[in-house]
Symmetry: D2
Subunit: 153 residues, 4 copies
Amino acid sequence: MGAMLNAPMDEPEFRSIVGVMRADVSWGDCDPAGIIFYPTYFRWFDAATWALFGSVGRDLRTMIESGYCMPLVGAQCEFVTPAEPGDRCEVHSRITRWGGKSFDVTHEVVRADGTTLARGLEKRVWGRHVSGPGSPMRGQPIAEDLKALFRAT
Amino acid sequence: MGAMLNAPMDEPEFRSIVGVMRADVSWGDCDPAGIIFYPTYFRWFDAATWALFGSVGRDLRTMIESGYCMPLVGAQCEFVTPAEPGDRCEVHSRITRWGGKSFDVTHEVVRADGTTLARGLEKRVWGRHVSGPGSPMRGQPIAEDLKALFRAT
Amino acid sequence: MGAMLNAPMDEPEFRSIVGVMRADVSWGDCDPAGIIFYPTYFRWFDAATWALFGSVGRDLRTMIESGYCMPLVGAQCEFVTPAEPGDRCEVHSRITRWGGKSFDVTHEVVRADGTTLARGLEKRVWGRHVSGPGSPMRGQPIAEDLKALFRAT
Amino acid sequence: MGAMLNAPMDEPEFRSIVGVMRADVSWGDCDPAGIIFYPTYFRWFDAATWALFGSVGRDLRTMIESGYCMPLVGAQCEFVTPAEPGDRCEVHSRITRWGGKSFDVTHEVVRADGTTLARGLEKRVWGRHVSGPGSPMRGQPIAEDLKALFRAT
């Protein structure tokens, strides 16, 4: 799995801002072994990507009203240390690749004591419902303006 | 809670068909106490209502394409016997009230050995996105034709 | 449903502290109608109850290590106003009834603009795994010390 | 992602039985874009792995009572074709690698019309709560007896 997370990028490295989303491990996020049920991490990754976009003015409402969406083509996660009920965590997210119509978001889940619990990657398409709500989604070229919003300064 | 489940109906009693949906208790449906995490039952109830409508020709795709929806105004559940990982269950669902623009669906979760695990009630509106996908939903009068589909013969 | 939420109490009214848990509506919490999928509220209620107990020193870890749990005998929710992706909410929770071995937690989901989205009730048992982890849970008498932790001053 | 799914194996190829788990796409499994919310696939993968073990006599109850568990070290999924509400699917699962104390399960989600919707991989540890329920989990050597249960004949 590690190889994927360090994959060569399509372009010269992109220095991304880092979004931080708070995420605590609830009772219901955990399974009979008393540790986090792993699909929870992917729920967090999805929310963290939307939060990252929200931090640059592309919040959920704006995205939905303008017909934009970010469907996935792939997702993965390494589970490093088991999370337990009550753990206070942050998801640190950044854009690690921009392609023509797709991009990668890398996530790291860090517990309050600094321990890394999980590392993940989402591969997403930049899409739009071109004929309004309910119409089919089509991949859209990613404009330089969009990328610039996420560039760390 | 029991009082609610036996509440007097708005109309003379409706003899409904009974839908049966298979639902097994997975590892991830359970919590650190080793029993079902209770919101799981409500996920099942929602799916069971859609399955009940599907059984009379109003399946998910048909409902979505014609703009119909069934938003909730209330839901409740009594938890009778704790479900455990691997339990094989059925959700038995029927319409127990038709109002002007709303209706009730009653659900019973029964384990393979015949034990009742939970009893629930959903109060739903019969609605439609009147101006196409993404447009606001409005409550619709429930036609006799619709009710007839669910009448036990 | 309303009748349940205003049900007479078993004891003279208990003036409870009010716990506040932040809960935002994520993309994945919503359904194809573009509004919250209703079991999400029950996930929030469960987390809000644990947070309320955490606020008086009975956090998840402490509860689990000492073998205490709070299984449900019933839950209900009225859905007042539909929540949409990106809505910023709070869940306000308080104890509204103490019985011998059971108690009620009442929840209200309030959007950032002050609108009430949902009102819910959980009926729970105060239980303990008396013979250690994995052993059966038994209802426990609720001590005055426990109740006192939640009394508003 | 594809590279991972075709990764060289630690041992000569293992010809595994193929488990089949039914999984239908419910209303609540989908998001405001009207397609499946991707963590749903990982919930299915987890359930499909337990079902595969159940098919050889290692069902959830047996595993839990004997203290065995299968925590994850990694998981990934390629999303090939978007699933929609009401889609009837199967998850086809097989063991594609046995290591000393770990193993891989490969999953394919196939819609009723034969279309592949998703392909996934779980990397799991074979573990046991060595000192009873609630005690820490330790990786266990995978016995030939266990592997033999999954060998296709």
